[in-house]
Amino acid sequence: MDLSLIIMQLLSGIALGAVLVITALGLTIVFGMLGVVNFAHGALFMIGAYAGLYLASLTGSFWWGLLLAPILIGAFGMLIEFVLIRRLYGRSIDDPLLLTFGLSYILVEGVRIVFGSDGIPFPTPPQLVGVLDLGIGFFPRYRLFVIALVAVVLLVLWLTLEKTRVGLIVRAGARDPTIMQVLGVDIGRVWLAIFGLGVGLAALGGVLAGPMRSVNPEMGSLVLAEAFVVTVIGGLGSIVGAVVAGLMVGISISMVALFAPEMATIVMFALMAIVLLIRPQGLFGVRGRTA
C-alpha cells in the first residue's frame, strides 16, 4: 500500500464528501432555522438532477443547467413551503416530517410519469471531461471541479450569513421569530427564503451528482439516508457540523474501501451510532434543540 494510493483515495473521499456536504447542508439549514425536517429532500435532489439535465439539453450548455436548476427548484421549494408546510407550524413537530414523506412519494412518481422509469445519461460537460495527471495518479477533472465549487458555495454562504444584513435577519429569525415580527420583519418571507435556499442546495447537489452517477427516479432515496446520517453526526442545525461530518463520512467510506470495500456503506451508520453514544446531539449540535 504505497503513499500515492492513499493520497488518491483521500482525494476520492473528499470528492465524495463534497456531494454529501452540499446535500446535508440544505437539510440542516432548513431544520436549524425552521424546525422542519424535509423528508422530500432526497426527492428534490433527484428533481434537481433532472431539471439540470433538461435545462442543459434545452440550452445546449451544462453551465446554464447548473445555474438555473437550483434557482428553479428552489422556487418550487418556496411554493411547497407556502402552500403545504406553512399550515403545519404550531402543530406537532412530527407533522412536517410526515407531510414531506408523503410528498416524496408524489414527487418520485411524478418524475416517473414525466421522464419514465429508466435512467437517462447526463453527459459530463466537455470542458471537464477526462482526467488530470496529478503526478501521483489520474483524477477525473469533473470531481475536482465539484470539490472546488462546493468550497466556493460554502464560502459565499458563510459570508452572506455572517457579514450581510440579510444574513443577520435570517440568523436572528431562527433564534427568535417573535421578536423579529415585533421589530417589523416579515417572518413569512424569511421562512420562504430559507426553505427555498435549503431546497436549492439539494437541487444543486443533484445537478452536480448527475454527471457522476446515472440520473434515475430512485437516486434520491439513497441520498436521503446519507444526508440524515451526516446531519445527525454533525448536529442538526449546525452548518459547520454538516461540513465537518460530510467530509468525515466521505473520507471514512473511502479509506474503508481500501481494505474492506463491501463494508463501505455500513461504516457511516457505525460512525453515527458511535457519535450518538458519546454525544447524542451530534458533534456540533446544541442540546435540547431537538424536542
Binding site: 413537530i93 412519494y105 442538526l236 450518538l276
Partner: protein, 332 residues
C-alpha cells in the same frame, strides 16, 4: 384514558367497568377480522391485513400512545420474520417453538436499538431510528449465509401443522388465515393489557408532557426503553406471521421504505386508537390494490392521499370516526 374501539360502546352505560370494556374491544376486533376473508376480494389480501395490522399495532404503541415517531419499525418486523425462518429452516425448530424464540430475539434487538436511540429526542429520534434500521438491513444483506442475502430466505415452508391432535393443511388459505388470526388475537390481547395497566398511563403521560412526567417521579428514559421493546416485540410477531404465510422472507422487509409504509398505515387508520392500525393496514392495502388495477403509478395517489390526511385528517379514518361517534366522554 383510551376509549372503546367500537361505536357500539357509545350506547352502553359508562359504568360497565374497565375490565368489561377491555374484553369488548379485543373480542369485537377479532369478530371483524374473522369475517375479513369473505369480505375482501382475496384471501391473500386478508392475510396481509392481519399481518400488517399486527405490525402497525405494535408501532402504534410507540408512536400513537407514547408519541415517539420512529422510522425504523421495519427492523423488528423483519427480525421476527428472519428469526422464525432461520429457526424453522436451518435449525429444524417446530413452528410453535420458532415463533416465541423469534419474538424473544427480536425483543433483544429492540433493546439494543432502543438503548442507542432513546438517548435522543424529537426529530433526532426519528432520524436515528431510520439510520439504525438501515444498518440492520445492510447487516442482513451481508450475512447471506444466514439470511440468503439479496435472494431472501427460503426453504422453511410449513405445509401442515398439528393443532391439538388435528392435522391441518396449512397451505389451505382459509386454515392459514384462522391460525394466523389466533396470533393476531393474542397480540391484541397483549396490547390491550399493556394499555390498561399503570404502565399504559405512564407512556401516555410521557406523550402529553415529558417534563411533567419526569417531575412526577417517573423514570422516563426507562419507560421509553421498555415501550420500545414491547413495541418491537409485537411488531416482530407480525413478522413471524409473515414468515409462516409467505414461506419466504424478502430482504426489503428491512428497508426504510417498509418503515415508511408502517407510518403511513398508522396515520391513515388513526394513531392512538385500538383498532385504527387494522383499519389503516386494510385501507392502505386495498387502496394500493385498487389503484394498481388502473395505473402502475399508484404511488402518486397514495402519496397525495397521505398528504391530505396529514393536513386535514390527522386522526386518520378510524380516529375521526370514533371522535364523531363519541358522546360526552371526558377526554384527557
Amino acid at each position: 384514558m383510551t376509549g372503546p374501539s367500537s361505536g357500539e360502546a357509545v350506547a352502553k352505560p359508562s359504568s360497565g367497568g374497565l375490565g368489561w370494556l377491555l374484553e369488548q374491544r379485543v373480542l369485537l376486533s377479532v369478530a371483524v377480522l374473522a369475517v375479513l376473508p369473505w369480505v375482501l376480494p382475496s384471501q391473500a389480501l386478508a392475510v396481509n391485513v392481519l399481518i400488517y395490522g399486527v405490525v402497525v399495532m405494535g408501532y402504534n404503541l410507540l408512536f400513537g400512545y407514547t408519541g415517539l415517531l420512529s422510522f425504523g419499525q421495519a427492523a423488528f418486523f423483519g427480525a421476527g420474520a428472519y428469526f422464525t425462518g432461520i429457526a424453522i429452516g436451518r435449525y429444524g425448530v417446530p413452528w410453535f417453538a420458532a415463533v416465541p424464540v423469534a419474538v424473544l430475539l427480536s425483543t433483544c434487538l429492540a433493546a439494543a436499538i432502543g438503548i442507542v436511540s432513546t438517548r435522543t429526542r424529537g426529530i433526532y429520534f426519528s432520524m436515528v431510528t431510520l439510520a439504525l434500521a438501515q444498518l440492520v438491513y445492510y447487516v442482513a444483506l451481508q450475512a447471506s449465509s444466514f439470511t440468503g442475502g439479496e435472494n431472501g430466505l427460503r426453504g422453511f415452508t410449513v405445509d401442515r401443522i398439528s393443532l391439538f391432535g388435528l392435522q391441518l393443511n396449512f397451505l389451505d388459505p382459509v386454515n392459514k388465515y384462522y391460525v394466523l388470526m389466533a396470533f393476531a388475537a393474542l397480540a391484541m390481547w397483549f396490547q390491550s393489557r399493556i394499555l390498561n395497566s399503570p404502565f399504559g398511563a405512564v407512556i401516555e403521560a410521557i406523550r402529553e408532557n415529558e417534563q411533567r412526567a419526569r417531575a412526577c417521579g417517573y423514570d422516563v428514559e426507562r419507560s421509553k426503553l421498555i415501550v420500545f421493546m414491547l413495541s418491537g416485540a409485537i411488531s416482530s410477531l407480525g413478522g413471524c406471521m409473515l414468515a409462516l404465510h409467505l414461506s419466504i422472507v424478502p430482504l426489503d422487509i428491512l428497508h426504510y421504505q417498509t418503515s415508511g409504509m408502517i407510518v403511513m398505515m398508522v396515520l391513515l387508520g388513526g394513531a392512538r386508537s385500538f383498532f385504527g392500525p387494522f383499519v389503516g393496514a386494510a385501507s392502505f392495502l386495498i387502496l394500493e390494490d385498487v389503484i394498481s388495477l388502473w395505473t402502475p403509478h399508484w404511488q402518486i395517489f397514495v402519496g397525495a392521499i397521505f398528504v391530505l390526511f396529514v393536513l386535514f385528517l390527522p386522526k386518520g379514518i378510524w380516529g375521526t370516526l370514533l371522535d364523531a361517534l363519541r358522546v360526552g366522554k371526558a377526554r384527557p
